[in-house]
C-alpha cells in the first residue's frame, strides 16, 4: 500500500514518536546528565541543572570508593557464564521437544515455566544453607548456577520456538547424509538457529545482569556483581544525587550499550513463537 502518505501526516507521526520516545528515555538521559553535575547543582530545578557546569567529579568519587572493575567483571562472568551453561543444557532439550514432540511436551514446557514463578524470598534460607554447606557463598560458580537455573526455562522456551520453525526435513537430510546426532546438532541445527540463539543469549544476559535478589543475598565481595555495587549507593546520606547518578550510569551503561548494539538481533528474536 505505497500510496502517498501526506507529508503533514508524516510530520505528525515523526513529532509524536520523537516526543514519546524522548519521554520514555528521559529518566535514563536525566540520570546521565546529573552524573556530570556537582551534588549541589544536581538538586536544582531542571533548567538550572542544564545550565550548570559539567564535571566528572562524581565518577572519580565513585571510582575511588568502589572496585568497579571487579564488580563489572563479576557481572560479565556470571551473566555470560550462566547463559552459556543454560544454552548447553537447553539446546538438546529444546531439540528433543521441538523435533520429537510427545503428548506431554507442551505440559513439560509449561511446568518448566512455572518453576520461574516460585518467589525467591520464600526459598532464600534453604538456598543459603545449601550454599553454605557446599561452600558456594560468595563464589561466581554458585551464583552462575543459580542464574542458570533461574533462566533455564526461558532459554528452553525461546529455543523451542525457534527450533520449531526449522523444517524437520533439514535434520532428516543431515541424518541421511550420515550425520550423527552430535553432528546434526553441531553442524546443522545450531548454526541454523544462530539468530535465535543469539537473541536468547542477549535476553538472558540482560536478565541475569539485572537480577538483584540472589546476587545481593549470596555474594559479599569476591563474586559481587554490579547490583551489589549499586546497593551501596541506594540510600546514602546527605546530598547524593550526583554520586547516585554516576553509580547508576556505570551500572547500566555496559548492558545498555550491548543492548543498543544488538537491538536488531534482540528484537528479531523476541517473539516467543508469537508471530507466525
Amino acid at each position: 500500500m505505497a500510496r502517498k502518505t501526506s507529508q503533514t501526516q508524516r510530520m505528525v507521526v515523526t513529532i509524536a514518536a520523537w516526543t514519546i520516545g524522548f519521554l520514555i528515555f528521559l529518566p535514563i538521559l536525566w540520570t546521565i546528565i546529573l552524573s556530570f553535575k556537582t551534588e549541589g547543582d544536581a538538586i536544582k530545578t531542571p533548567l538550572e541543572v542544564l545550565s550548570a557546569p559539567w564535571t566528572t567529579a562524581s565518577y572519580a568519587e565513585v571510582q575511588s570508593r568502589s572496585n568497579y572493575a571487579g564488580h563489572f567483571m563479576n557481572s560479565v562472568i556470571i551473566s555470560v557464564g550462566s547463559t552459556i551453561i543454560a544454552l548447553i543444557i537447553a539446546i538438546p532439550a529444546a531439540w528433543a521437544m521441538a523435533f520429537q514432540p510427545g503428548k506431554r511436551t507442551k505440559d513439560l514446557l509449561m511446568w518448566m515455566l512455572s518453576t520461574k514463578m516460585m518467589p525467591a524470598v520464600g526459598v532464600l534460607i534453604p538456598i543459603y544453607l545449601l550454599f553454605r554447606d557446599f561452600g558456594l557463598l560468595d563464589t561466581r560458580i554458585g551464583l552462575t548456577v543459580i542464574m542458570t537455573l533461574i533462566n533455564l526455562p526461558i532459554v528452553i522456551w525461546m529455543l523451542y520456538t525457534y527450533f520449531r520453525e526449522i523444517p524437520s526435513e533439514i535434520l532428516e537430510a543431515s541424518r541421511m547424509d550420515g550425520a550423527s546426532l552430535k553432528n546434526e546438532i553441531l553442524y546443522v541445527l545450531t548454526p541454523m538457529a544462530v539468530p535465535g540463539i543469539a537473541s536468547t543469549m542477549l535476553l538472558n544476559v540482560i536478565l541475569a545482569w539485572n537480577e538483584a535478589f540472589w546476587t545481593l543475598q549470596l555474594t559479599t565481595s569476591k563474586a559481587a556483581p554490579l547490583t551489589q555495587f549499586i546497593a551501596s549507593y541506594s540510600s546514602p546520606e546527605g546530598l547524593f544525587y550526583a554520586k547516585l547518578s554516576a553509580a547508576s550510569t556505570m551500572a547500566i551503561a555496559p548492558i545498555l550499550i550491548l543492548g543498543w548494539f544488538s537491538q536488531k538481533q534482540l528484537v528479531r528474536g523476541l517473539t516467543f513463537g508469537a508471530v507466525k
Partner: protein, 332 residues
C-alpha cells in the same frame, strides 16, 4: 548395486494403519515412480525405505542385505526432499560436501567430488553462494548434487519438483531424466503429478490407501489399466466413465473412454450440448453434456470453432473403449 526388496512391509502410526502390507521389488538401475492421491502413503513408504521411520513389521532388503533396522545413513541411500532441505548457512560447496565430511573423507577428495558433481549439474559458477541466493531450480540441483556425491545405491526423491513453477518443472524433470540416463543408478521418485510419472518412469507404482493398485511401465498403465482407479488416475484429462445401459451393451459394469479417444463427428452416437469450450490454439477441450451418458470431456486437436451451447455428436473410438467389471477390475 541398488536393488531394493520390500517384503510384507506394514506401517501403523499408533492406531492408524497407513500401509497395511506391501511387497515390492525394485531392480537395479530402474527409475521407479510412486504415484497416488494425496495421503495415500507415498511419502511414508519412501521414508520407510530411507529409514527415517521404523517399519511396524516386515522386511526391507537393500542389495540382498537385510536393512530393516539399519540407521538411515547406513543404508547407502540418498534422499532429495520436496523442500530441498538445503543447509541455509552453508555455501553450495559445503552443502554438497556435507555427506562426504560426515563420512570423514579428506578435504582434497571432497573438493574433487564436489567439483565433479557441480560440473554434471551446471553449478560450477554458484559453488560459493548460499542457498538463499539461488533460484528454485538451482536449489533443486544442489539438493541433487548432495545426493550424487555419496554415490548411493539408490536415490529417493519426494515430490522434488512440486515447489517449482510450471516451466521450471518441465526443465527440471528433463534434467533428472537425463541424469538417470547418465548415472544409471536406481531412482525412486514420489509424485502425485501423473505427467511426471508418465514421462519419467521406467516403472510406475500406483498406490491407494497404502495399497499397491498396479505396477507397470507408463504405457502399460495407460493402455491396460488394471482397474477403475488406475484408469481414472493415469491420463489427463481424466478418462470418461459410463455406467448402466451403455456399459452393459459392451458387456461391462463400467466402460471408460479417454477424452483424446472421442471424436466429434456429425454421425456420433452420443448427442450433447457444449457447456465449456477451452481453446488453447493447439487443442480444444470440450465439456459436453450428453443426454445418454452424462458429462463427457473431449479433446480435439487444433482449433474447433465451438462455443458454449453448441450441439455436437460424439463418437468413441471402438478399439479404445476400456471395460471394467462390477468390482472395478478391468475386463480383458
Amino acid at each position: 548395486m541398488g536393488q531394493i526388496t520390500l517384503t510384507k512391509v506394514r506401517k501403523a502410526f499408533g492406531e492408524a494403519e497407513v500401509i497395511p502390507g506391501i511387497d515390492l521389488q525394485i531392480n537395479d538401475g530402474e527409475f521407479v515412480v510412486f504415484v497416488g492421491p494425496s495421503g495415500c502413503g507415498k511419502s511414508t513408504l519412501l521414508r520407510l525405505i530411507a529409514g527415517l521411520e521404523d517399519i511396524t513389521s516386515g522386511k526391507i532388503e537393500i542389495d540382498g542385505r537385510e536393512a530393516t533396522n539399519a540407521a538411515p545413513a547406513e543404508r547407502g541411500l540418498a534422499m532429495v526432499f520436496q523442500s530441498y532441505a538445503l543447509y541455509p548457512h552453508m555455501s553450495v560447496r559445503k552443502n554438497i560436501a556435507f555427506p562426504l565430511k560426515m563420512a570423514g573423507m579428506s578435504d582434497a577428495d571432497q573438493t574433487a567430488k564436489v567439483e565433479n558433481a557441480a560440473r554434471i549439474l551446471n553449478l560450477t559458477n554458484y559453488l560459493d553462494r548460499r542457498p538463499g541466493q539461488l533460484s528454485g531450480g538451482q536449489r533443486q540441483r544442489v539438493a541433487i548434487g548432495r545426493a550424487i556425491v555419496r554415490e548411493p545405491a539408490a536415490f529417493l526423491f519426494d515430490e522434488p519438483l512440486s515447489n517449482l513453477d510450471a516451466a521450471l518443472r518441465v526443465t527440471m524433470r528433463q534434467e533428472i531424466t537425463e541424469l538417470h540416463h547418465n548415472l544409471k543408478t536406481t531412482m525412486i521418485y514420489v509424485t502425485h503429478d501423473q505427467v511426471e510419472a508418465m514421462t519419467m518412469a521406467d516403472k510406475i507404482v500406483v498406490l491407494q490407501a497404502g495399497r499397491v493398485e498396479q505396477v507397470g511401465s507408463p504405457l502399460e498403465l495407460y493402455n491396460e489399466p488394471a482397474n477403475l482407479f488406475v484408469a481414472g488416475f493415469i491420463g489427463s484429462p481424466k478418462m470418461n466413465f459410463v455406467t448402466g445401459e451403455h456399459a452393459a451393451r459392451h458387456g461391462a459394469a463400467t466402460i471408460g473412454v479417454r477424452p483424446e479417444h472421442v471424436d466429434v463427428t456429425p454421425d456420433g452416437i452420443w448427442e450433447g450440448r457444449v457447456i465449456l469450450a477451452e481453446h488453447l490454439g493447439s487443442d480444444t477441450f470440450l465439456k459436453v453434456d450428453t443426454r445418454d451418458v452424462g458429462e463427457m470431456t473431449v479433446r480435439v486437436s487444433g482449433e474447433m470453432r465451438l462455443g458454449h451451447g453448441d450441439t455436437v455428436r460424439l463418437q468413441p473410438r471402438p478399439d479404445r473403449i476400456y471395460r471394467f467389471a462390477e468390482d472395478g477390475k478391468a475386463l480383458k
